[in-house]
């Protein structure tokens, strides 16, 4: 438990992705089976303990901690689970602290009535960090900034195996992943993917660069709309139906409405959208259904899901991935015409004879649900990863707003000495009619290192107040902020939320009074 707790503790405080990868790799290298396998499961949301943990813990605390002292401590610490971990009265050493494996296996077979006693005994013999980790493990919310994708990347980098292979076998191995670790350490064969509904790593595109337009010959490429949802893979093989995200996370639980319509014997690639009456709803609507394990009947009705298909990877026993794109496309169309599964359609192909045709379309693309254009080589096989020269994405031009810098916050990790996170606002009329700024967004990227140094200096020289790591600055500096779209939001004072805001340009020259008003931003909302 101690090594796992140390890992979680370091990860929770480590902002840099590369540093996290190194901490994970060190842990996998130095921890034996099956502990490392259970840790991997915990990090990738693969362990569930259905325990009334809150009640168990509060019952356990009653005879152990004075309630007045607990409340004072809870107020100071600010987090109940952390307070319990810190305040738990430690027993004199004697009994060995439990291993992670012991905790997981014991709980998996324990009766509900045995759990409080087991938990109390473990907490008695763990140090404060391990108690914190144990409680986090049992709540099922580690919140240490590790996605399943990052954990898989760490496995790939540590072992030297390609990430796409790790992702492919991922859904065919189970905690504590002995088979997987045996393969990763060259002590066993690659786990059998078999006929089960396994994830096949996706083919991804590159953002097209200006100089590459000249290389696009209309006769070699087809164009498609890039829909504004999330890329998914829908699988129905070996009697199992699954819906995977772009990174191979199983999201079937949240989208039963589309999962149940996938016909047998197929692996499809498409865009997951929310559609109402044949119209693509804003991304915000899809967001409401993402990130949860299940979905309510009301949500299924109000936010119906749909897959717009781009590609087909398997049909029956045929692996189509080596075929040229246009042949796969023909198979996809024929298959869809024959099966006509509800809640799906095939994304249309756009006719074009020259790049200029496309440019006009691209420039006019402001319709809801369109994120830009895709250009695909007619002869591209389906290659896992992001192969060069096959698929290009051409995102539509971003929206922009001139906003005024209001607050700056210290960054983390390598940026911790810089004020690098910026909150900016737009003008509106205050209650008395006088102009006031209201925050409309926050961003910490889009500028160069040199610009960061200048911004940091500017913030320090124009501070009017500070609150912990945050400084309020004089409302004098204008940012041209670029963003993909803007939506209504009840969580923000301004009533709007930007998607992907980034600092496009720093307008050192522009007077703050000439920055944009909130109405300019609300006019860009897609309803």
């Amino acid at each position: 438990m101690k090594a796992f707790a140390e890992l979680l503790d370091r990860l929770a405080y480590t902002p840099s992705r590369n540093d996290k990868l190194r901490l994970l790799a060190d842990y996998f290298a130095s921890t034996p089976d099956p502990d490392r396998g259970y840790a991997l499961a915990a990090l990738t949301d693969g362990l569930f303990f259905r325990l009334p943990l809150r009640r168990i813990l509060s019952d356990l605390l009653v005879p152990r901690v004075d309630p007045v002292l607990f409340d004072l401590s809870r107020d100071y610490v600010g987090d109940t689970a952390e307070t319990i971990a810190l305040i738990w009265p430690a027993k004199a050493p004697g009994q060995e602290p439990p291993r992670l494996t012991t905790v997981v296996k014991t709980l998996q077979s324990a009766l509900a009535m045995e759990v409080p006693g087991l938990l109390a005994n473990w907490l008695d013999h763990l140090d404060a960090t391990s108690r914190w980790a144990l409680i986090k493990l049992l709540t099922g919310a580690l919140r240490v900034g590790i996605s399943a994708r990052l954990a898989k990347t760490a496995l790939a980098e540590w072992s030297g195996k390609p990430l796409s292979e790790v992702e492919e076998v991922w859904h065919c191995v189970e905690p504590p992943y002995r088979e997987l670790f045996a393969w990763l350490t060259d002590k066993g064969p690659r786990p059998e993917v078999g006929a089960r509904a396994a994830f096949k790593p996706l083919m991804l595109s590159h953002q097209i660069e200006d100089k590459e337009f000249a290389l696009i010959d209309a006769k070699d490429f087809v164009a498609e709309w890039k829909w504004d949802g999330i890329r998914v893979q829908a699988v129905h093989q070996g009697g199992e139906r699954r819906l995977f995200s772009r990174t191979g996370d199983d999201i079937s639980g949240a989208f039963p409405d589309v999962v149940e319509t996938i016909p047998e014997g197929v692996v499809l690639d498409g865009e997951l959208l929310v559609m109402r009456n044949g119209e693509v709803a804003p991304f915000n609507d899809l967001q409401k259904r993402l990130g949860r394990k299940t979905v309510t009947p009301a949500m299924l009705k109000s936010h119906p899901a749909h897959i717009r298909l781009y590609d087909i990877l398997f049909e029956g026993c045929d692996d189509l991935r080596t075929l040229p794109f246009i042949e796969r496309r023909a198979r996809l169309e024929a298959w869809h015409a024959a099966k006509a599964p509800p809640r799906t359609d095939v994304s249309g192909i756009i006719d074009f004879t020259s790049i200029n045709d496309l440019e006009a379309l691209w420039a006019g693309a402001r319709e809801t649900g369109i994120e830009g254009l895709m250009l695909k080589r007619r002869d591209s096989p389906y290659i896992a990863g992001r192969p060069k020269g096959h698929w290009f994405k051409w995102k539509r031009a971003p929206l922009t707003l001139d906003a005024v810098l209001m607050y700056a916050q210290r960054g983390s990790g390598k940026r911790s000495s810089y004020y690098s996170d910026y909150t900016f606002g737009a003008w509106r009329n205050g209650d008395g009619g006088e102009p006031e700024l209201v925050p409309v967004g926050k961003s910490y990227f889009g500028f160069t290192d040199e610009e960061l140094r200048e911004l940091d200096r500017w913030v320090r020289n124009h501070t009017v107040d500070s609150f912990g790591p945050v400084r309020q600055v004089e409302p004098k500096l204008v940012f041209e902020v670029a963003f993909d779209s803007v939506h209504r939001s009840t969580r923000h004072k301004s009533g709007v939320a930007m998607r992907f805001p980034r600092i496009h340009r720093i307008r050192w020259d522009k007077p703050a009074s000439e920055a944009d008003r909130l109405e300019t931003l609300t006019a860009m909302i897609v309803e």
């Binding site: 190194r22 610490v77 952390e82 911790s416 000495s417």
Partner: protein, 337 residues
Amino acid sequence: MRPERFDSWLTVDAKGLYCRPGGFHIDPYGGAKRAVITHGHSDHARPGHEHVLATAVTLAVMKTRLGAVATRGTQAVKYGEKLQIGEVTVTLVPAGHVLGSAQVLIEWKGARVVVSGDYKRSADPTCPRFELLPCHLFITEATFALPVFQHGNAHEEVAKLLKSRAQFPERAHVVGVYNLGKCQRLIAVLREAGYERPIYLHGALQECCSLYETFGVRLGPLKPATGTARDEMKGEIVLAPPTAIADRWSRRLPEPVTAFASGWMRIRARARQQGIELPLVISDHADWNELTATIAETGAGEVWVTHGREDALLHHIQSTGRKGRALALIGREDDDQ
């Protein structure tokens, strides 16, 4: 004034805690006639008193930091030496907080009062260990007076620092430390853990380290952090005041891992708020268990709480059948930086 009525002869005035039959203040604000100083931290050792009585180390620290220690005269006292001041007998006894730190024992007409100053019970290679004094009234600090504060073992925290150094050999590790006490203790614990490389110091830390060495505390090879090439600092341990670790000063270091050695680091929100990547729970103050155990062991029937989180400690004192009182002394929030 009656000896058993402590508040009749120990009072709080605008300068702080005052002993009437002795005619002196303890750790007062500036301008006291006679001041007994427990230790050299700036919230206890203030400038401008006429007469100052303290250990030789504390006087030396005050001289280094303040220039002039007192306007009329100073008196250095050895631990355990009994001094008659007015009607009372005063004895300074090790408090285990920093080098030179003392508890103040005041005896008057059979009553024994101990002012703890700041103290800790756990081991510290740089200063003499806390000595327990039985007394009738114990006036205690309460910096970490919540049961969530249990400081643990400094060696385990140093092991975390050394492990991180091995994991990230291309980065410097910059550790925020308070300039008097924490800095030297961390160095000494690193040496006990077998770390023999030079330790790099921010300029503000050098004076106190030299002072410790003058008083016989061996710290091993130390180097100034400024003036060393960036590449040479890879893998090195650098100590700096807390204000410098995540500010412009630290930009001279190669991709520093930001650490902070403080009792506050036990609380995640505090570490995160300051952007700390490697919190090290090392404190020179008593934690909750030490505070409550010490109160019990002194046998005091009455306990006064000076600065810190007095609510929780008073609750504990009263629920264990003792008389408790909060002394409202201002200006002592949140030390142990």
